[in-house]
């Protein structure tokens, strides 16, 4: 598993180089052919038996923050990059910029808040990052406007096969593609590690343009809602209940014959799966299926609790289900005589 190392790297959208460098070194170690495209996507090729062009996609980027201003006392103001859950930001440890300057997100203490302020989620413009300096000039020596900020959160295992880490969306997908590439299957596919998914599926669009896939398989960390007070029908996915197959979201109506055929492969091979019971959200499939002549696309996801926060939680069993199911889907689609 590459997941521990992957989740402890920083890679906020547009600044994925740490993750990219890590994946490149792993691909080199395993002797896998790859290149990095103009936007920074890694496109790796596993050569083998081929009927069609298959593109696997997982995004390297994670949600985070970007420095917008340094105030006269040296506090850092910031904006969100991607869909950040504002409620979870306050008092979280972060790392600022390439030098990874440690800091903490601060705000007015609860004692000083008006009753109105206590009621509401604290907006981003009322928060700041404190890196322990006491003047603007001191901060400016360490931090620049435009520096990216990522959560500081270490990987930990707990409970029944659960993992707690940041950026499980979508380092789980990255880790699964790396694993599949390392297996040297006799089935042709491209493993694509995309950039800037969290800000609008930008990397995947250019990657799909280059590869012109017939079939896109997006491996994602997806929203899980198996918490108390959520009604059964609103539980979009459940942790520990297997690979989540998407039917529809804001970016894609998934080809139903493809989705049902993947479900059948899961059933025939005793792989746990579930349907994603929400039509909200979106992922790289949204652009892959519409690029050039168009392609069929499916999303096979790992349910992640507390997604887009510093402490998301996923199950190793679900990751295993996604890995195995994706492998079988690739093999099934490349069955036959043709060899390239």
């Amino acid at each position: 598993m590459f997941l521990k190392e992957l989740t402890e790297l920083s890679g906020v959208s547009g600044c994925e180089y740490e993750v990219r460098n890590y994946i490149k070194s792993k691909l080199t170690d395993m002797g896998c052919e790859f290149y990095v495209d103009k936007l920074g996507n890694i496109i790796a090729h596993n050569k083998g038996r081929k009927n069609k062009t298959i593109m696997l996609a997982a995004h390297m980027d994670e949600v985070g923050l970007i420095v917008t201003n340094i105030d006269s006392d040296g506090f850092i103001k910031f904006e969100a990059v991607g869909g950040i859950d504002q409620r979870v930001l306050n008092s979280k440890p972060v790392l600022v910029g390439e030098k990874k300057i440690p800091g903490v997100i601060g705000s007015k203490a609860i004692h000083l808040m008006s009753s109105d302020e206590k009621e509401k989620a604290l907006p981003i413009d009322k928060m700041y990052i404190d890196i322990g300096t006491s003047s603007k000039s001191e901060t400016e020596k360490l931090v620049n406007i435009g520096d990216y900020v990522s959560f500081k959160s270490s990987y930990a295992e707990f409970g029944d096969n659960l993992i707690k880490a940041k950026a499980l969306d979508d380092r789980t997908g990255c880790s699964i593609i790396l694993e599949l590439l390392s297996q040297k299957l006799d089935a042709d596919f491209y493993g694509v590690f995309t950039v800037m998914e969290e800000v609008g599926l930008r990397g995947a669009e250019t990657a799909a343009y280059q590869l012109e896939p017939d079939l896109g398989l997006v491996l994602e960390g997806t929203v899980c809602a198996d918490m108390p007070e959520v009604e059964e029908h609103d539980k979009s996915t459940l942790i520990g209940k297997g690979a989540a197959l998407s039917l529809m979201d804001n970016t894609t109506v998934y080809d139903i014959d493809l989705v049902r055929s993947i479900a059948k492969i899961a059933e025939d091979n005793n792989i746990m799966y579930q349907y994603r019971k929400s039509a909200a959200g979106g992922n790289d499939a949204g652009v892959i299926h519409k690029t050039k002549n168009g392609a069929k696309a499916a999303a096979i996801s790992v349910p992640c609790r507390y997604i887009h926060s510093p402490v998301s939680v996923a199950s190793k069993k679900d990751i295993e289900s996604v890995l195995l199911l994706t492998k079988l889907v690739i093999l099934e689609n490349q069955k036959g005589e043709k060899h390239v």
Binding site: D234, L247, V253, D255, K290, N293, G294, K296
Partner: protein, 328 residues
Amino acid sequence: MFNSELMKKLSDCFGPSGREKLIREMIMDEIKGLADEITIDPLGNLIARKKGNGKKILFSAHMDQIGLIVTHVDEKGFLRFANVGGLNAKELLGLRMVFDNGLEGVICQEELKDKEKLKISKLFLDVASTDKEFIKKNFRTGDMCVFKTEYYETDDCVICKAADDRIGCYILIEALKKHPPTENDVYYVFSVQEEVGCRGAKTAGYIIDPDLAIAIDVTATGDTPDGIKMDVKLGGGAAIKLKDNSIITHPVVKDLLTELAEENKIKYQYEILEFGGTDAGPIHTSKEGVPSGVISIPTRNLHTSGEIFNKFDVEECIKLVIATAEKE
């Protein structure tokens, strides 16, 4: 003469966004032998071509209709759903819905104190069975259903579901039947997934790479009590779109359609829609860009189970499509 039988068939055929198989088969059957070449692209767009060495013209009408997708099935026979395309919870309540296998349900709501807060998540579909085996066998997460409404017509108007955009499909089928002798290379596209964001048109536009593109789709009207302020009315003829949220009609195309209407004594009206978009949106920005426009059919009660349009307007739209196909 309005072909009521064809329009009824088109309206009754099942085909929400992403599930256009049945409607595609129906249209293929209807246009059999009329085109020089018929293809289905990777997303499922149906493309009928009349070959020529001249200008490449793309006409697009979308096959898909709005509907619901089942997100959860409970063993008691209550199905939860999300909307496929633009639908309003208040307009759904009490409606009968039908699946591709012919099974039906009715939309009910959880008891709510504040009716104003009705949301789709508070609605469910009751499929009229207490038999757990029946429920389990017949309904799955991911199934889609559409309105069940009877087709009805008077001398001049039609009430039906999915007039958006089966009336556009009707116009293209009728135009294809009367395809004029011309050197133009004409593509009649029956597109998929318009209602979820004009997705099919994006790939069709890319594949065909036309010199001129015209979408045929419904538009709203301003002729109902306390309605929106809009200078489009039933019976006013073919609507030539000038602007909506997806396109500002290319001036050359606006002039072309206007001149063709004038020359051929086709009744027309200009349309400015302050919301919405059509297949012309993604097509006009495809590749190097495509001068594009829209011929719209004025339609009341859009995105409801009873959309109303006027047969005369439809005839004028057909004439304008044919005139455009013929123009050098």
